[in-house]
Symmetry: D2
Subunit: 341 residues, 4 copies
């Protein structure tokens, strides 16, 4: 059901024109005359009214506003599926009682460094190895990633250390090569509304980690999840990684309230990436703790053996020792809210 | 030390003009010619260079930019005072090992309701009672608070239940009446840059709870703390209560990363107000837990026995039963990070 | 008329409870059962439903959302008064065919400089002299203005050059002294929601220039105008001066679309202040031209004979020669849209 | 030249470590000891220092901050090319004295409507026809565009009405088909940081219209232009189309100050799209006038013969009659600033 608010002084003819249009779409209407405004209640399955039809109604003479009552996403909504979705990643479950931690370097730089980091995060308790082979960089002159070579190292690290892997897909053209290696396909913040890419990953069954766009609302983010799910792939994991605000003291503003809010709106699991969220190494541990306390299902943390030599995002990577310490701190917090890590 | 970046192609005359100006202020300069830019390093106590003098230099012919190296606040900075400030509120210490919880209604409505709430939050473990007697409301037609009558009820509740009290000061004219009753003077978000009000509360020794403005940067917030401290009152407590962003799914975006960041930048204690931060009752508890995990020294939470009848902010108030449950959940999280509540 | 959207699965009892509450406020209700949601249409004069009552309804069990159809401001709305308000300032009219230009230094520094600037802006075509005697500065260590001495110089300049004057009121305590001298009382951006100050200037009949807050929505801004008007002072002039966004290349983001939007929503005249809006001298002229083209009723521009020595905001002040040139450029643009300057 | 600000209390060893690292990259250093901080000035061609190297330095022990003096873009900068770039589109020049207007429907819906709109905008003075064949829609259930069929209609309209055409490329896979038809390749706001797409359009010589991302800074926008130019395609046209802010009264906040600011920073021409910028039909004309007054080189305006039936963005499309009226209003404003339209 939707509500159409009419302008004061609208003519009877215009009202008839609007009603005729709605009826032509198989919808019923109900007019209420208030003291200061007349409104039309639209009855029927308005979820079939597309965005453009809504715009068209808003564009009609005499219409002041159209208020949509229903959420624009369906498959991603908690109403569609009451129980939490548990996403299977090889032998792991994301979205269950156990909180998983994805850790690793921002970019895969070479095999030695990657293996060294993988070994350490594994022994500290991480279950998934992160690392970019295709890197979105704001400068064309920056390191753009190792490409397939990097993917191979990740796959080797998976075998050697028993870690699942997650890595980013940046372009539809790279879909085949990414599919060949990764366990979770990451869609980066800058591609959250790259709709062709969403359709592409929607057509497979591999889990997708969908990062929130820098300036994406919760609603838009869930609409992007809906894009993927509408193609048949319901294995979507959401990842909060900070939004852009006026504050420049941190790289982004990590929106932790998104975690409990999403738990109400959707059945999909939620990961928090404090590394990108704050962009400063010293703030990663407290925000990781806070994310767990807020109810996150998993964490994604940048770890590097030598942040000073990292080819990407060294400023926000923590060292393996700090990561090990953090994992210990997270344990009692997880237990305090009835989970384990 | 500051840096003045000069435009490419600046004339020798303009450079001399700039140097002369700096020297007239007792500062020394050091020129470095780079391949693409010339810069002037300014040596001496540039913290005495005021904002307007900096602007004036920026306005000079040939100046591309002025980069200030030092922070504009001094008394509020961690460099000025290495140890955490512990603020004494009657017999309590804010900023010590123990985390305090301030709870109560948004506005003081009448004695019965206030006392009922006070009794319940006290027994759940709160140590400070909050409640507004002067209310900043966006509409002139909304309830504006009980004024002094409300302050009296707060003072009576303090005696009866052994709680300290915190209430908001909105105008310099109300300073005397507020001083007569409250233990902590609250400066609301909308008044964070009401500089006359800051000077006024700076001239007494009573603790001041300074809420962050809706769109205030961390730096501006600390500058407002500096305003108060510059008048001699060093008893400033900072309160994060959410910032304004593009996201409308929550009332504000609670910036929890401000907590560990402020711990680096300042020695002042930090309170988190999740009620205003999110504006939705169901999100208050998870964000309160997250605030503790992030390192907050205290919480400020809106509690009402009957949110449906509250005269202000009912939507974000939790019931006493929920508050009691929350206090229990906070305990193990506080312990997990070496604190108590 | 308002709309209350109910949660799916709400009980009949909860619905009755909500209806009873609405009826207790003299409102009638009308229930519509849609396929996916039930909604309650509220009939009657819902403009009397205050903010807190709305919150209280939103806080009731089973309520998903409350959608307000009517705007929360009345006196400031175009519906309340169809024709443009013309505000009389001594012998001038703001909001009529003629576009007025307010010009002068950011702060009044001394008599000589003020008079020199006044003379030049007058001869270039400005009709109102601006200048701050009480200055809101983010640092307590910055120049805070000359106080009453500055007001005297402004009044003397008014006599000598035949300019009306506008200056800022920062605190209720300064109301009497400001009233003694100024023609227009300016409420600064940081005080847009200093409600006690709004009530104070609402109780006189002198024109008030209400600057938009750094992060104030158009709705909140009009609510602040409503505050002033609710006390009887309808002589309110709105001033767009830039909002805070993520962009740091300009001091603020000048929201020129506010001009034509406000022309639809309100009958009050609109001034644009490009100096604060952009914060960079070279951008002032193009944005002043754009403001006129967008339909502004007046401009407020910082002019200083020697920006390099200005005690405040030198970076964004233009020189008298530039101002004279700008005034000439504005003339044909004003004529192109049927106005004069 | 860059500046490295060191933490107070940094050890001599750490300083040596930093200097050694810089020297290993072929850079020279110069240390200055201030009263409160020590800084290292970095001498040499620091434009070769990549983002990741900067991050790595920032990550070193004892480094408080790294201040980059030079802009991170080169080819796009005004310093690289002093004169305005004039971009040739068939027989038109964008960036010259003449201001061009791109007009047409949001999406190409069918041949009849497109031709009808094309005829009318042509006769009103538009020189370029806009229309989407591949449409980025926030909902997977919305109309996604006609694809190649739409491109064919655009090409036919070009022949019939003598208009150049501009249409959006959404995915690298569609590059060939887009290249076959369009005169200007549009990169949409959501793809401004789709780096693979930028590299792709950088490898041809066809003009690229690069829309500003919803939350992109001016710097990031110019870096995306740099991406395209770094591959050899210098025919980049920038298009301001509104940024995302806290204000919801307009769809976006049109940042017109970007126009004069970009004129300082870059030699590339600048288009303004007021239709997306404000999202409300009635605000399009005043903002189009303001854009010209601010110095825009071209406008992009959505025009539809029947906005109420448009399949996309009907709310912000103006009718041909309104467009014709607007074109007449723009003429004297263009002349007032020494241009023609």
């Amino acid at each position: 059901m939707d509500i159409i608010v009419l302008e004061p002084g609208i003519t009877e003819l215009s009202i008839k024109h609007i009603i005729k249009k709605l009826e032509s779409k198989g919808l019923k209407t109900h007019i209420s005359h208030g003291t200061e405004r007349t409104i039309i209640g639209v009855i029927g399955d308005t979820s079939k009214v597309t965005e453009e039809e809504e715009d068209a109604i808003r564009a009609m003479t005499g219409v002041e506003n159209v208020v949509r009552i229903l959420k624009p996403y369906k498959l991603a909504s908690r109403e569609f599926k009451k129980e939490n979705s548990e996403i299977k990643v090889r032998d792991l479950i994301i979205g269950g009682k156990k909180i998983h931690v994805m850790a690793g370097p921002c970019a895969v730089e070479n095999k030695t460094i990657l293996f060294s980091i993988a070994e350490k995060v594994k022994s500290a308790g991480a279950t998934i190895l992160r690392g970019g082979a295709f890197k979105p960089r704001t400068s064309p002159y920056s390191f753009q990633g190792l490409g397939e070579e990097g993917l191979k190292y990740l796959a080797e690290a998976r075998e050697k250390y028993g870690l699942s892997i997650v890595t980013e897909l940046m372009d539809t053209k790279d879909m085949d090569v990414i599919m060949k290696y990764t366990d979770i396909i990451q869609i980066g913040a800058r591609n959250m509304q790259n709709f062709k890419l969403l359709l592409e990953v929607g057509s497979v069954q591999k889990p997708v980690l969908l990062k929130r766009g820098l300036s994406a609302t919760i609603k838009e983010w869930l609409m992007s999840a809906e894009y993927i799910m509408s193609q048949g792939n319901h294995n979507v994991i959401l990842c909060e990684r900070g939004i852009r605000t006026f504050e420049t003291a941190t790289r982004n503003t990590l929106d932790l309230s998104a975690v409990p809010l999403l738990k109400q709106l959707t059945h999909l699991p939620i990961v928090v990436d404090p590394s990108h969220g704050v962009g400063k190494r010293d703030l990663v541990a407290p925000m990781a703790r806070a994310a767990i306390a807020a109810g996150a299902d998993a964490l994604m943390i940048e770890v590097h053996t030598n942040p000073e030599e990292a080819l990407s995002d060294g400023e926000q990577s923590i060292k393996p020792e700090s990561f090990t310490k953090l994992m210990k701190e997270l344990k009692p917090i997880a237990e305090a809210i009835g989970r384990e890590i």
